[in-house]
């Protein structure tokens, strides 16, 4: 059955805070095993949507179904399947050490003490926090806190991982480590729901992304498809000799100006090849080629700014 293969299903999710419409009738399915990106400007409603699954936000109406279970009604079983890394560096820092934070969290998930200790040590090692095991949270750097949050989200080995801006404030090495880790976990079959403001990150990792603004879902699809539909690819060919007036290039949108031939729109490799062949046929020499693919960032700005107008 198809429904069983959906990991997270937002169904007409609606959330109104006093004076703020945070999420507006969001309907969206994330498949099991999918690497999914939830994108949107500040205040778009990403965190709010996620927090319904983590039991931190009560939906005004609508629901979120996780592996077939209602996140509100069946919260205990849903929480068992989901690991959440929050956006804020919120840790139980008053009196617990780094290692104890992990061990206690394992305990809340019903993991016996010995096993909890083993997993905590393993994760501390994996995230280079071994030396800080006895430290207090206040003694950690920002990046270390993010690593600890990530370890905490993984302590019960959840099949669905929800990461709210995991790479915010991470240095280059940590960002790569987190990318690598997310890819590994996804390869092991875990579903990953990622929010990020780094669109190259989403483009690189996510099979599909959704773009949200002011609580509304504006676009969903694989990053490549979204960028293709934007018609914003761009190729510029500098000509060493002048081009004849009648380059026969049917169906291509091009201009020749100041010894430069410009192509724009949705460009596949064969289109460019076609132009190069035509130029070669006509004996036109080429001095340089600049090509630029549309980036997710362009599409993102186009969609969100278009929406705000």
């Amino acid at each position: 059955m198809k429904a069983e293969r959906i990991a997270i299903s937002f169904q007409h999710l609606h959330k109104v805070y006093p004076n703020v419409l945070a999420v507006k009738d969001l309907t969206l399915d994330i498949q099991q095993g999918e690497f999914f990106g939830l994108l949107g400007p500040n205040g778009a409603g990403k965190t709010t949507s996620i927090q319904v699954i983590a039991g931190l936000v009560k939906p005004t109406s609508g629901q979120v179904i996780v592996n077939g279970l209602d996140a509100v009604r069946d919260y205990r079983r849903v929480h068992r399947m989901v690991g959440v890394m929050p956006q804020e560096e919120v840790l139980d820092s008053w009196f617990l050490s780094v290692r104890e934070i992990l061990v206690y969290n394992a305990g809340y998930f019903g993991i016996p003490a010995r096993e909890a200790g083993r997993r905590a040590d393993e994760l501390l090692e994996r995230f280079d926090l071994g030396e800080k095991r006895s430290a207090k949270v206040s003694e950690l750097s920002g990046g270390m806190k993010r690593r600890l949050l990530l370890a905490k989200a993984l302590i019960h080995n959840p099949e669905i991982l929800i990461l709210d801006e995991p790479t915010a404030g991470a240095d280059v090495a940590l960002r790569r480590q987190i990318w690598q880790l997310m890819s590994e976990l996804n390869a092991q079959g875990k579903t990953i729901l990622l929010t990020t403001h780094y669109l190259e990150e989403a483009e690189r990792l996510c099979e599909r992304v959704a773009i949200l603004d002011r609580g509304e879902l504006l676009a969903v699809g694989p990053p490549a498809e979204l960028t293709r539909s934007s018609h914003r690819d761009f190729v510029e060919i500098e000509l060493a000799s002048s081009a004849p007036r009648d380059l026969k290039l049917p169906g291509l949108n091009y201009t020749v100006e100041n010894g430069k031939l410009r192509l724009a729109g949705t460009l596949e490799d064969e289109h460019v090849l076609e132009v190069l062949n035509a130029l070669a046929r006509e004996g036109v020499k080429i001095s340089a080629i600049h090509a630029e693919r549309a980036r997710l960032e362009d599409v993102f700005l186009e969609i969100t700014q278009g929406f705000r107008k």
């Binding site: 804020e88 919120v90 139980d92 008053w94 206690y104 809340y108």
Partner: protein, 253 residues
């Protein structure tokens, strides 16, 4: 069950790790009470029934410590977790809402009872108490700590700041405890009109009176009325705490 135990343990460790701040004060204040009211003023106050004043007073002091300590633990802890945000650890875990409420309250009860027993121990260092009905005393300890730990849990959910907890303790609990026969018997205030009325309509009078009966074997109120009031408060406030956790009151947006 592991989840429940872990949360209970967290609440206990939170209290016990700061043991100098949390265990020493009740011992010190009890000793001060014993010195000031028992030894210094006690001889002028005379005996209450067959007991010297210090022995009459000690069950009241013990009750006061149980009430305050079982109240403060969940009140501060719940508010602290909300304020710091780590309440999300519990809310996003597979713990049920009733488990969260009960584990928090149980830890508060443990603190109240531990401190109560410490006070009892300190009392025995200076004087003796007959321990007339130990079973009844244990029942009182459990029910009183249940009632006030549950109340603390509710206050911890309700308050918007640290001062809210203190305000409840200063404006509500302190007057009720002080006018609840901790330091005097109904006999001693006969003829002081306002005090007499306030004391008689104060449910704490019956709780303190009943507890005193369990330790000394004398009573100026019916110990079973006190037990009934305590049990009703305990069960009622426990259920209210669970309901508030269930509704996500001040826990979820």
């Amino acid at each position: 069950m592991i989840g429940f135990y872990t949360l209970w343990k967290r609440e206990m460790v939170r209290y016990l790790k700061g043991s100098l701040d949390t265990i020493a004060p009740p011992i010190i204040s009890t000793i001060l009470f014993i010195f000031v009211f028992g030894l210094a003023l006690g001889s002028r106050l005379g005996a209450v029934g067959e007991f010297p004043y210090i022995q009459f007073m000690l069950p009241g002091v013990m009750m006061m410590s149980v009430i305050m300590n079982s109240f403060y633990n969940p009140a501060y802890s719940v508010f602290q977790s909300r304020w710091q945000g780590n309440i999300a650890d519990f809310l996003a875990s597979p713990l049920s809402y009733s488990q969260m409420a009960v584990a928090t309250i149980l830890a508060g009860m443990c603190r109240g009872m531990i401190v109560g027993l410490i006070v009892l121990g300190a009392a025995f260092a200076f004087t003796s108490l007959p321990l007339a009905h130990p079973g009844l005393m244990a029942l009182y300890l459990v029910l009183v700590s249940l009632a006030f730990a549950s109340f603390g849990c509710i206050v911890g959910l309700w308050t918007k700041g640290w001062d809210g907890v203190n305000a409840v303790s200063i404006f509500l609990l302190d007057p009720l405890v002080m006018l609840g026969g901790v330091f005097y018997s109904l006999e001693m205030i006969r003829g002081v009109p306002i005090l007499e009325v306030l004391t008689q309509i104060n449910p704490f009078t019956y709780i303190t009176g009943g507890f005193r009966y369990s330790l000394l074997g004398i009573a100026d109120t019916d110990p079973f009325v006190g037990l009934g009031i305590t049990a009703m408060l305990g069960v009622g406030l426990l259920l209210a705490s669970i309901a508030l956790f269930w509704r996500g009151y001040h826990l979820k947006h």
